[in-house]
Amino acid sequence: MPKILEVQHLRKSFGGVRAVDDVSFDLSAGRLLAMIGPNGAGKSTCFNLINGQLKPDSGRVRILGRTSNGCKPREVWKMGVGRTFQITATFASMTVLENVQMVKLSHHGRTRSLTRRMQRMYVEESMELLELVGIKAQWNRPAGVLAYGDLKRVELAMALANNPRLLLMDEPTAGMGAMERTHLMQLTADIVRSRDIAVLFTEHDMDVVFTHADEIIVLNRGSLVARGAPDQVRANRQVQEIYLGTEEAARLQKNGSEAHD
């Protein structure tokens, strides 16, 4: 199977702290890979090294066989990577449809056009995406007034709008109710499998992780401590130690950590 994402010996330190320490893994098309670990394990740093927000000290990130080290987020996106954020980032003053049209516009390199009218550009293909994520009925409402769960769907449509080969989803279900979580993750899983898209996601909710991930990697203190199918990871002694040892604290901190992290 072709590798969509290859992470090789990635390292990143802040001051003297090794936030990510020699992490390597890879990801194939059509698979969902969950990255988990307690707070401060280096998930966010690892994520930001892949999406271009941070530059690694050493090691390599390859996307579709091309090295993306040192690329800015907008350049990484152009390599075929879609993103969703822990706290949704959409264009609040624009309608749902316009939000997706905006991504299409960038995908076709037309953002500097001053002669055409946006209103009729890429409408059909954008509407198809809205239908796919189940938000078509609200196409003409401003994103700023949507319910949070709906906004997550808009963001998913936006992430899919450049036909990405890789989706990076940071806490895709953060801030949602339990029912909504399952629905959104099932939807995401169905879409990416049918389109052969690879997904890397971080997640706090272990139910979501063990239900939907094909594979799980576990980080602790910057290092990769386990990797495998959900059942293997569940049975891993080291993982159990990390989680059972910190579970109580994790549950108590949960309210606080959901807000920032």
Binding site: S93, Q101, S113, R116, M118
Partner: protein, 617 residues
């Protein structure tokens, strides 16, 4: 050697005065996030009140220092009144409306000062016992300057103690760091704000009073000092007291020594320092990144939709009225309408970058005045025909915007706005001080339209075609892919970056477009007036445009036109009255309190449904 030492000490004394104004401004901004444009007016009031007291009391050291303290307390009390009666009502309105409210205060204080203290410049009284000089290594140094240095250092120390050693000071610092957290802790915010406003106003009043023996008092002090104080605050970092002191020192010393090397450079120097510092350290020497004006307001911007049919009909009817007006209107009305049209185009170009572009400019007059000067210079030196000059003016200001924009788009929010102000002041001082080329204060005269357009009615039609065309073109751009990208950049820089869009490059282009259209308006303006003066580039001109946009409402596409019309008409109606600034200022304040969405925003909400638009807010 003594000469340089005295030069250094003089610079330090200037820095001390500047610090007291800037310190108050930065305190108020840090805690309340209010950019208080009226701060300079408080400074002026401090000077006038102290002058009045000192000249009416016997000339003793006791009465001199007592008067200065009383003047500062009076200004502090005015600060409390302004905060409690006006600003407190506006904390939840968008920040830009707070700006408009403080503009109103500037105008009111300006007229009240003229009425109470007279229009003549007042020569400052000397401080009894400290009016002499002492000799330092053979050079003379005024004693009073040394006292100023000491007083400013004392204030710096006292404020440090206040902020670091008292409970109140800790709350002030906490509010500067994290406002929401403070609210969550159950601190009485309004009392804290009022207290900080008193302290800030007291300090600027003290600064104004203390500089009397050096600079006296006049009615131009308010805007002159506010520009300098903003530069100091921005260079030092918004909210930082020690930053303000250091920045004041750097700027005052540079101009103190700069005047020896290049006497013409004094005005430019301060703003060049600011530009350099902001490019190297975007948030000032001691500052931290500031969230955008828009984001701070918390509310998403209004959704823009193409004009519905009924609104288009209304527009057509308006066009018909404009076309037929010369049949009935007199020459005077036509001149007024010509001016309204030109200013509408200029404020529309400002709206273009402020509203959809999300970048507030405090220095739009650089482009308007730049266009005016480009056209005037072309005609004056090269006998360029009007048609060509009108074509080249927007090119010239587009180029200017290319340069200024390159620096500005590296910043966000208030810092960006301040940098535009700095660049506008650089442009203004070049025009003002380079008299041999630009005519300086005397301006450039006799710039008339080509023979075919010399008739008032023909020029009226020409202006209308260009300005309405320009306004519609800018409006249409908002609905092009680029216009959407602009709005995307304003709404979510994070998302824009994550969908492959180069934020700065698009903001840069926005700058250039806005600059070019403002330049076109400026070019037309010269030919309509027949002359141009540095005033067209001055801060007050930039503020006019800002007011027009705010008056119309930043969330509505035709707001700038409504705002320009209302502003120009009002100005014309009441400028014949005595105390017209007082009236205009009061009107602003009433408008801000009554219609926080601007005129067009108000109509949009009231009657928008009739025209098929969704109500906002």
């Amino acid at each position: 050697m003594g000469f340089y030492l005295v030069q250094f000490l003089t610079g330090w004394a200037d820095a001390s005065g500047l610090f007291m104004v800037a310190c108050g401004l930065t305190l108020i901004f840090g805690v309340s996030r209010i950019v208080n444009f009226a701060h300079g007016s408080f400074y002026m009031v401090g000077a006038y009140v102290a002058y009045t007291l000192i000249t009416h009391l016997p000339a003793t050291g006791m009465s001199f220092w007592g008067s200065i303290l009383v003047a500062a307390l009076v200004v502090g009390a005015i600060g409390i009144v302004v905060e409690v009666l006006l600003l407190r009502r506006l904390y939840h309105a968008p920040e830009l409306f707070l700006l408009m409210g403080t503009f109103g205060i500037i105008l009111i204080i300006q007229d009240l000062s003229r009425w109470l203290f007279g229009a003549e410049d007042l020569l400052g009284p000397q401080c009894p016992g400290l009016s002499g000089s002492i000799s330092i290594l053979g050079s003379l140094m005024p004693q009073y300057d040394l006292v100023l240095i000491a007083v400013a250092l004392l204030i710096l120390g006292l404020i440090w103690l206040l902020l670091n050693r008292t409970r109140w000071g800790i709350l002030v610092r906490a509010a500067t760091e994290d406002r929401e957290m403070l609210a969550a802790l159950g601190v009485n915010q309004s009392r804290l704000f009022t207290g900080v406003f008193f302290l800030g106003s007291f300090l600027t009043g003290l600064g104004g009073a203390l500089q009397l023996p050096k600079g006296g008092a006049d009615l131009l002090m308010d805007l002159n000092v506010i520009a300098a104080a903003f530069v100091v605050v921005v260079v030092g970092g918004m909210g930082s007291i020690q930053g303000a002191y250091l920045a004041a020192l750097i700027i005052a010393e540079l101009s103190s020594f700069g005047i020896l090397v290049l006497p013409q450079s004094t005005l430019v120097m301060m703003f060049l320092v600011m530009a350099v510092v902001l490019v190297i350290r975007p948030y000032g020497l001691f500052g931290k990144p500031e969230s955008m004006v828009h984001e701070a307001a918390g509310e998403p911007s209004a959704t823009l939709r193409p004009a519905p049919a009924r609104l288009k009909m209304l527009g057509l009817a308006l066009l018909a009225v404009i076309a037929l007006l010369p049949l009935v209107a007199g020459e005077f009305q036509l001149v007024l309408l010509t001016e309204i049209a030109i200013l509408s185009l200029a404020s529309m170009s400002l709206y273009f970058m402020m509203g959809p572009g999300g970048m507030v400019s405090f220095g739009h007059a650089a482009f308007f005045g730049g266009g005016a000067y480009a056209a005037a210079l072309l005609v004056h030196y090269l006998q360029t025909p009007m048609e060509l000059a009108l074509g080249l003016a927007p090119l010239a200001t587009g180029l200017l915007a290319l340069i200024i924009g390159w620096f500005c788009v590296r910043l966000t929010g208030v810092y960006l706005a301040m940098l535009t102000l700095a660049f506008a002041q650089i442009c203004w001082s070049i025009v003002f001080q380079w008299g041999s080329f630009t005519g300086g204060d005397d301006g450039i005269l006799s710039i008339w339209p080509s023979a075919w357009a010399d008739d008032k009615i023909v020029f009226y039609y020409l202006t209308m075609v260009i300005c309405i065309g320009g306004v519609l073109a800018l409006r249409a751009m908002v609905f092009t892919p680029f216009g959407y990208t602009m709005r995307a950049c304003r709404d979510s820089p994070l998302r824009v970056d994550a969908i492959g869009i180069d934020l700065r490059r698009h903001q840069w282009l926005t700058f250039v477009l806005a600059g070019a259209f403002a330049g076109l308006a400026g070019g037309l303006y010269v030919f309509s007036k027949g002359s141009v003066f540095p005033d067209e580039m001055a801060i007050s001109r930039s503020f006019d445009f800002l007011l027009m946009v705010l008056l119309g409402g930043v969330e509505t596409l035709f707001g700038p036109v409504a705002g320009s019309a209302a502003f120009t008409w009002l100005h014309d109606q009441i400028s014949r009255l005595a105390f017209w600034q007082l009236i205009l200022g009061s009107i602003f304040i009433v408008l801000v309190v009554a219609f926080p969405q601007g005129i067009a925003g108000f109509f949009n909400n009231r009657f928008g449904r009739y025209f098929g638009a969704e109500p906002q807010g």
